[in-house]
Structures are given as C-alpha cells and as structure tokens.
C-alpha cells in the first residue's frame, strides 16, 4: 500500500437509509470510518445496527443513499465489496456437518484462495485460537466459544480490508471474550484492518477508537469512548429512596438534569463534588441506597437518549 497517498476512508456512507414497509429501520446515515479504525456501532436491539451492517456488507439494498466500502460502491459493485470485507454474523456461519478444517477450506474456496494458501493461513489461525487439536472435529461437537473463534477465523481467512462483527461476543464467557478482543487488536496492528463492531454490551466498546450511538435508526451521538464518558460527568450519583421528591427538589438546583426510574434517581456529578460522604450528609430525606460511581458508555447512551427525547430502551 502506498502510504504517501492521502488515506481514503474505509467506509463512507451518504444518507444511507432503509425502510421496511412504512417503518424506518435506518434513517439517513452519514458516517465516515477511517482506514484502520476500530469503530463501534452501539445501541439496543432494534436500533438499526444490524440493518446498517447488512447494507454495508451488501446483503440488503438501501432504500436511499449509498456507501463506499473499502473503495467500492455497495450499489454499483456489491461483489467487489464482498471480496474486500469479512463479516462475522451474530450466529455462526459454519457448516455443522463439516469438520473445523473442512469449514475453513470451504470458506477459502469461496474466495478463490489456492489450497496451499488456505492451509498456511489455517495453520496460523487455528494455532492462534488453540484450535489445532480440533481440526478434524465436526463443528457440531465444538463448544460455543470454539465455534465463535472458528467463525472469526473464517471471517478473516481471506484477509479482508474491513471486518464487520455483529455482536461477536454474545453468549460467550469472559475468557473467550478476552481471547477474541486480543485477536482483533493484533489483526488491526499487523494488517491494518478496519474493524466495525456492533454490540449492545456497551461496556465492551471502551477499546474502540470511536463509537456511534444509534437509536431508532438514527445516530444520537458519537465520539471517543473516554471523552464521551468524561464529558458526561466525573461521576454518577445513584440514589434509591422511598420518597424521591424532596431529594429531587434539593439536588436538581445543584446538579441539574436527572434520570428517574420509579424511586431510583441518577444525577451527573462534575468535578470537586466527588465525596460520597458530602452527599450523604446534605440529603434532606432518608435513602435506601446511595452510590457514586464512574460513568460508562451505558450512561452516555442513556443520557443521549434522554436529550434526544426518547425512552432509554
């Protein structure tokens, strides 16, 4: 690759939109994802993440707008786009009736890779995921974590320039999750792959270079995870009280907006007011629980939904 040339974005969407019947699934997305970026598309189920991913990977056609993915237009040249991307679906893209080895050989053949090259890359990938001893085992006999690892190996076998991962760690235990995150980090480092991830486990997206929050098909906010959480608040003050009203009356002038869910309250706390004891002392009514904690991406999402005038779910 010519590093002197100005870097074109790995993905650029223009008013990318998808409606099913009268229902808007994705409402005119304008996104730009740089080459080599680790990008998170976050939101709850039904927020339009997967639909976006499917449009970018040419599985479905947008109703309006288009996108350039890895230098190719998704409408004009879907096949060329598919040759340059990898996609790991929420559910396994493996043939359960074939062995580990046969699955990767099959996947390699789909990309017209010569068998020798497939064997060489397969050896590397299986070793990396500790799947070497399982190479002749049928996929049906693998554990969920192994299957997911193999699925990711399948998704990167042809060295895609952009790798899409749809909820890659859903249903996995912590050990398997960490292994997968380590692998993705390495892939980006060694091959400069652009990774686009969707997840509704927002805490998983902290390692992303940049995240976009989606809700009801729209982008409601974006930024670097650390900056987003820092700019939201220094801490989040959580209070559970039988009578929240006097507490609200007391704290709202001090802390501003709050989120109420029954008798559970959340306030954003800025610098210099971070001692839990201070808050405890000045509360006008008895509370059941009081906590002061670091904000995370879940909080960012909840507050973004709130300012967009939407329910947090």
């Amino acid at each position: 690759m010519n590093t002197a040339a100005p870097k074109a974005p790995a993905i650029q969407t223009r008013n990318l939109r998808k409606c099913y019947g009268g229902q808007v699934a994705v409402a005119g997305l304008d996104l730009e994802i740089a080459e080599g970026e680790f990008f998170g598309l976050l939101g709850r189920n039904g927020s339009g993440k997967t639909t976006t991913l499917h449009m970018l990977s040419t599985l479905i056609r947008p109703s309006n707008g288009t996108a350039i993915v890895a230098g190719r237009d998704i409408l004009a040249r879907p096949v060329a786009v598919r040759a340059r991307i990898g996609l790991v679906f929420q559910e396994s893209a493996l043939d359960r009736s074939l062995s580990v080895e046969e699955n990767l050989q099959f996947a390699g053949a789909m990309y017209d890779l010569p068998p020798d090259l497939v064997r060489q890359r397969m050896d590397e990938l299986l070793k990396l995921f500790d799947l070497g001893p399982k190479r002749r085992v049928l996929v049906a006999a693998l554990s969920g974590g192994m299957r997911r690892a193999l699925d990711i190996a399948r998704g990167v076998l042809h060295r895609p320039r952009v790798l899409f991962l749809d909820e890659p760690t859903i249903g996995l235990d912590v050990i398997n999750r960490r292994a997968i995150w380590r692998f993705l980090a390495r892939l980006r480092q060694e091959q400069g792959v652009t990774v686009v991830l969707t997840t509704h486990y927002l805490e998983e997206a902290v390692d992303c270079d940049r995240v976009v929050f989606m809700s009801h098909g729209e982008i409601i906010g974006s930024g670097k995870p650390a900056e987003l959480t820092q700019s939201l608040a220094t801490s989040i003050l959580e209070i559970t009280a039988d009578e929240p009203e006097p507490i609200i009356a007391h704290l709202q002038p001090l802390l501003g907006d709050f989120i109420q869910d029954g008798n559970h309250l959340q306030f954003r706390v800025r610098d210099g007011m971070t001692a839990l004891a201070d808050w405890q002392r000045q509360l006008p009514a008895p509370v059941r629980a009081l906590a002061l904690r670091q904000p995370d991406l879940n909080d960012v999402y909840v507050w973004m939904n709130r300012s967009a005038g939407r329910p947090s779910a």
Binding site: T50, V79, A83, Q90, A93, L98, F106, A109, Y111
Partner: protein, 284 residues
Amino acid sequence: MDESQRGETIRMRRAISAIIGRELKRMVRQRGRLLAAMIRPLVWLFIIGSGFQALVEGSGQGHYKQFMVPGLLCMVLLFGAMIAALSLVYDKESGVMRMLVIAPFAHYWIVLARTLSAAIAALFQALLLMVVLSSLRLLGLDYFGLPAHLPLSALGLVLTSLTCATTGMLIAVHSKTLDNFAVIMNFVIFPMFFLSGALYPLEHLPAALKALALVNPFSYGVDLMKHAVLKDVPANFSADLSVGTDIAVMMAYITIGLIISCLRFSQVSVREKMAKALSGSRRV
C-alpha cells in the same frame, strides 16, 4: 467490466468444486440416506417388479424387470437430486448459507452451484445403483448389462439429474420452510415418478393421465433412458417419444427453470427475508 466482474465464471471454479465436494461429503456421511437411496429401487425391482412380471408373463410378455431398470435409475436421480436441492430451504437459515451470501460472487451462483451439486450427488447414486445392478448378474439376476447406447445413457443421466435438481430448486427458492417436506414427497416426488412412464409405457394410459405425463419433465428423462438402456425388448415396452424431443424438452426445462430460480433467489424481498433469518435477530 472490472477485475471483479471479468472472469467471474473462471474464478467460480474453486467455489463450485467446494460446493459440490460438500454435497458429496454430506451424502457419504449420511449413510442412512445413501443406503435408503440404494434399497428403494431394489424394493421396487424385486417386489413390485416380480408381481407385475408374473402378471405380464401370463399374457405372453416377459422382460418387465428389464423394462423397469431405466425408470428405476431415473427414480434414484429423482429422489437424490430433489432431496439435495430441497436442502437449500433448510440451509437458508443455516451457517453455510451465511458463508455463501457473503462470498464474492453474484447470488444466482448459489442457485446454479447448488443445482449442479444436487445433480452430481444424484448421478453418483445412479452410478452406484448401476454397479449394484451389474453385480447382481453374478447371482444370475440379469436385469442390467452394458446399456444399448453408452453416450446416450450418459447424456440421459446428466439431463435427467439436472431436470430433477432444477425441479427441487424451483420448489426450494419458493418455500420458506421444509415443514412441508412430506407434502412435497407425496404431491411432487411420487406423482412425478408414477406419471412418468417409469412403471408402464405411456401409450396405453388414458388421455388425461397421458397429458399429465407429458407435462411432467421427468417423463422425458425416463423416456430418454429407455432409448439408451433397453435392448431386445418387445415393441410395446420401448420408449414412447423421440430422442430429439426428450433432449430438447429437458434442455428447455432446465434453462427456463434455472432462470426462474435465479431471478426469484435474487429478488429483493427474498433476500431481505433471508438476511433477517440469517442475522438471527428473531432470537433476541
């Protein structure tokens, strides 16, 4: 045209071989299915065939079992190709379909490659049956020797298997689930077999049934195989149509059937439904 479109056919070689290889592996691994595919025609030959042979011998005609052989070879093709092609329905929600839809070739290739692999799996079963039938000669059961016309036999087997695979594919691209597999078996596969001239010559059928047999594409495969395989049989047991008609009808049917299947599979609504099913979003 650019590098991604130019020579797509050539670049498909590996993908198509892999799809065929997978089909054959699955067939060999599902030994029950393979065994059933071999036993089914033998049951027809020895049980139904013996019964009918006794009947026709009474009227001074022999050779009924020899007459059945082309039909039974076609039966193996019919069942083998239809079941393999119909498995596309089941695969619509499976992992392998995810690998196929994300692969860098136009989606109609999936239909073409799956049709070809179903036909090849069926051909493999027909060849196996030929070996079984030939080895029966060692037991003195002489129903199947070297076919009368070898090249015509090969052409007949290939066209018939493609005809059956195309039929299976036409059903597969139009149906959502295979819950109705028994329905397809009873209302498509069996009628195609019974109304094909595989068990009796077409010429003596009542006009209505004969008309049905003539719209059944499978009939032309059976007829072509009769031309190719049968020798020294009485005139009333020989093929009903001309070789040219059989070949032309099957080629036309395969071409039109595949065009319809490819168009249907590439339809926006079908693709969207499949993308939804494949994304597993229903699960959450």
